[in-house]
């Protein structure tokens, strides 16, 4: 019998699949078992990086499915400011698998957070689970609660009627309510809505078991609501901006991304309707040597985003992946971070506000 | 067009004539630029100006903007008061003058026993009747516009007290400080505000008064005023709201044009107060206390002289002080 490795394709061998490849033709994917076209409804959720996917889908004429639509006669600037079309519904960024699970539990009736709304000094009411969805908060508790009801209805409709749901896993570190375990997208009172109170909120870093378990539960809920649903998981390649763990942020990033990558892998193994897209590998592989990161070694460059999207469409829609990303051949690191200003990122806002509030 | 032109000419001649007649009597009642304009009317106009005047109106494009009114209220009512220097002009109320000049409002304590007495003895027996039987405000009152406010005719005793109070050296120097001239009282109004839950109307709504130059306002509390008694509120230049609580006898003096203000609607307790209007007094004239009623304003500051024979007038109003009401 010959060695089983002899039967493997080139993609299984580092030299052929990576070392001999150029940055622009390195493709860490095998052919996907899922294909969709313009007629399928594609929904998405996840961390900041997930917004690149939703925008790319819209730009390429795919049916980016939005169930919580903006009213007519608002400007694109207003749409964006009020969180319309950033994702398929106005849930804002979903960073952790527990956050996704709780969204599904809230939408399908199983969970009602005890501490969700916060009123500022001007009487404006904020939804702590999507703190930036209305820039100045809601005008009243009544409006906040009525809007939430419609939002959850839109989430239900989304899950029940979409064909594909793309979820980008972002973080394992999170802040939870000590009352009932509600998980918040950001730490309440740190640069966004809310008021930090250590008797009410606790830091938690999800373990691999928790991350995997919560994700599996969320998938079960979604699939129960829509048995035809196909799910694509990706892991955000963006490193942590900061960690609450008492260790180096680089270690914390490695932990977080490893756990998320394992959770995604576990779901692909477990469920036939779950697929993986390797955005993490496209951006972070050693062949690139950080070429797709900007000078801050965290922000993904437009070229990196373009390459990831190119491969995404190549594998899931059959679009050509041959065309190299033209700008990938230009200098590896741009002089300054080129960050798309249209990405709505609670996490970045949080750290910007944190930096601004630090005593000089 | 010809008829209109004739009317305009006649109007101008009448105006000019009236002013010339007043001038001949030694009055200076017309501003210099007006006088210049009117004098020019009786002289031949320069040819170029005549040319402009005679141009047909239809040729000129319509002006779509409006010029500011020449008789607009001043932005603040104490423009001619020099900046007060307490070192140069010592005064018992120096800090109050400085406070008024800075903020447009100050509170001065007066005799609380007297104020408490007037609260009991004054008759708040009339409605605030802004609806009158004639549109020029000369008619009898027809109906009140709110049941939550009551007024009355101030008694002779109250007017005498106010006369004595404001003639005193402290207040004389206070008014000279805030106005730049001595003051007199242009109106005294009793106001009783009853507690109510509905939104305030009239003086209980946010407003500014558009008082003429030199005219400032006062409110003398006849009772302690806390948050439930409908305290005076004003907004400063930055729009921040301030509430002025007070004790019986506190006199609040404020620039009602400079400050948006209101007597907030009392929620639980009745507020009794005397509403005062202060206006400049010519040097050499005596302090006067005028009472012109709830809804009236002295129409012309030159015409508010009281008859000299005060005693006879007092008789005429059955023991009350002189009133224009």
């Amino acid at each position: 019998m010959s060695c089983p490795y002899h039967t493997l394709p080139a993609s299984s061998f580092w030299r052929q699949a990576v070392a001999d490849r150029t940055t622009s033709d390195l493709d860490p994917h095998l052919p996907s078992g899922l294909q969709f076209g313009p007629e399928q409804r594609i929904a998405s959720a996840g961390s900041c990086f997930a917004q690149h996917i939703s925008r790319a889908l819209k730009e390429r004429g795919f049916n980016y499915y939005v169930t919580e639509t903006a009213p007519s006669y608002v400007t694109p600037e207003q749409e964006e400011r009020f969180g319309y079309g950033v994702f398929s519904a106005r849930y804002g960024n979903i960073y952790t698998t527990l956050q996704l699970l709780q969204l599904m539990q809230r939408a399908f009736g199983g969970f009602q957070p005890a501490d969700q709304f916060w009123t500022d000094g001007d009487g404006r009411v904020f939804d702590l689970l999507r703190p930036r969805i209305t820039p100045k908060g809601f005008a009243s508790s009544f409006e906040a609660e009525a809007d939430l009801k419609q939002h959850l209805k839109a989430v239900r409709q989304l899950i029940e009627t979409t064909d594909v749901f793309i979820f980008t896993l972002g973080l394992t570190e999170c802040w939870v309510s000590k009352l009932d375990g509600t998980v918040y997208p950001t730490c309440p009172g740190c640069g966004s809505a809310g008021e930090f109170d250590e008797t009410k909120y606790a830091f938690h870093n999800l373990s691999v078991t928790e991350t995997t378990g919560y994700l599996a539960e969320a998938i079960n809920l979604m699939t129960a609501a829509n048995p035809r649903l196909q799910i694509i998981l990706t892991v955000s390649p963006v490193p942590l901006a900061a960690t609450m763990e008492p260790r180096h942020v680089l270690q914390a990033t490695t932990y977080s991304k490893s756990v998320l990558r394992v959770a995604a892998e576990e779901m692909v193994r477990r469920y036939a309707n779950v697929h993986y897209f390797a955005s993490y590998e496209v951006i972070t592989n050693p062949k690139n040597a950080g070429a797709f990161f900007a000078e801050d070694a965290r922000s993904v460059t437009p070229e990196g985003v373009a390459r990831a999207m190119q491969l995404f469409f190549a594998h899931f829609t059959g679009a050509s992946a041959d065309a190299a990303v033209p700008s990938a051949r230009v200098p590896k690191r741009p002089a300054a971070p080129v960050e798309d200003p249209k990405i709505v990122c609670d996490e970045d806002e949080f750290y910007r506000a944190l930096a601004a509030s630090r005593p000089k | 067009m010809a008829v209109g032109s004739m009317i305009r000419t006649a109007t101008q001649r009448l105006k000019g004539g009236v002013n010339q007649a007043l001038g001949a009597l030694g009055y200076q009642l017309v501003r210099t630029e007006t006088l210049g304009g009117l004098s020019g009317f009786f002289e031949p106009a320069p040819p170029s100006a005549a040319g402009v005047e005679s141009r047909p109106a239809a040729v000129q494009p319509r002006r779509l903007t409006l010029l500011p009114a020449a008789n607009a209220a001043p932005a603040m009512c104490t423009a001619h008061a020099p900046k007060f220097d307490p070192q140069k002009t010592p005064s018992q109320l120096a800090d109050k003058i400085v406070e008024f000049q800075q903020n447009g409002v100050t509170v001065i304590s007066t005799n609380p026993e007297k104020a408490a007495t007037f609260r009991e003895t004054e008759s708040f027996d009339r409605d605030v009747s802004n609806r009158h039987s004639a549109w020029d405000w000369a008619g009898n009152s027809v109906a009140p516009y709110t049941k939550d406010l009551q007024t009355g005719i101030p008694s002779a005793a109250l007017l005498d007290y106010l006369h004595g109070l404001f003639s005193g050296g402290d207040f004389d120097s206070f008014f000279r400080g805030v106005l730049g001239c001595p003051a007199q009282v242009a109106n005294v109004r009793l106001v009783r505000s009853l507690p109510h839950e509905t939104a305030g109307v009239g003086p209980q709504e946010w407003h500014s008064d558009g008082c003429p130059a030199g005219v400032i306002r006062g409110v003398l509390y006849l009772c302690d005023v806390d948050t439930q008694t409908g305290p005076f509120q004003y907004r400063d230049a930055g729009g921040k709201e301030h509430t002025v609580l007070g004790k019986t006898g506190d006199l609040l003096v404020f620039d009602a044009t400079r400050l948006m203000h209101r007597g907030s609607p009392p929620s639980h307790k009745t507020r009794s107060a005397i509403d005062l209007v202060f206006m400049p007094r010519m040097p050499g004239e005596d302090m006067k206390i005028m009472v012109v009623g709830m809804n009236h304003w002295p129409a012309d500051p030159f015409f508010v002289k009281l008859p000299k024979e005060r005693a006879a007038d007092q008789e005429a109003v059955a023991g009350r002080a002189t009133s224009l009401y």
């Binding site: - | 105006k15 630029e33 020449a70 609806r131 106005l179």
Partner: protein, 297 residues
Amino acid sequence: MDTEFETVLPVYIVGDSHSLPYKNMVFREKWTGAFVMAHTKYIPGITAKDFYNPATGEFHPDFIAFLEYEGLVRNGRATHLSMDEVDFSIAKAVGQAVRPPLIMLTIGEIDVRGPIMQLLKDSHDFVPPFPTTLPVLDKPLVPWDLIDEAIEARLRPFAAGLEHLVRAGFKRVYVQSIVPPSRQEARVKELQSYECPVTVRTKLVQAYNWKLGAKVRSLNLVMVDRWNDLTADGLLRPEFDFDGVHVPPKGARLLLEGLIDDAIDSRGLVANHPRYELYYQMACGLNPFQAAKSNAT
């Protein structure tokens, strides 16, 4: 001739087609028995947004034309005691009005029915920041802040125009609140080519009036509002629905009576300001007649 003519109180009503129900309206008001007569001007299509241009300080040409036609403005200046006279007596002797005229603007309904209502149509509802008896429908909600921005965009130039009018001496300007919208859904669809439930339309008008009232009050002016008289159960009473858009003359009469109720309480801040200034200066020991000369030296 010694015939004494009864005086008539004119009220100048100008704006969009909601000025039309006041046309030729004459009645005796209840307080003094005086005749009130509406002088109306319909400016087709005028909206709150194009009533006044804050950038140029110019009003809608038809509005200025109306003021000039009625003799309220001459050469860009208000004619009531705005001129050179410093004496009420002289003004009265020449028959000049000393008090600002009563003017009511009927502007804004087109703004509500047009661009603002487009946000909602029949697809959305909203929750206003004030109490209302009207329900929230089971529809996606437009955030109040977006409605607020849409109303604000239309109201801002209008409020700037009101402020300019006040500066020009028109201190008795009233603004008619937008009247409650029709219950006739079919008629409304026919008029505006899209549907919007009556509760949503009514709530939107309430919201517009809520903001309009606040702006008008901040200028010491008054919004004429008879909402409670015109509605039953929160919606327009059918007897006040003239044609699916306007109130009938009897509704307009109610509103005009509301204006009169307020106007009789208000002197329009009448004071002879130049003359007070003169007096104040003299009291301060200044010589107002030599001011120009002393400045020149």
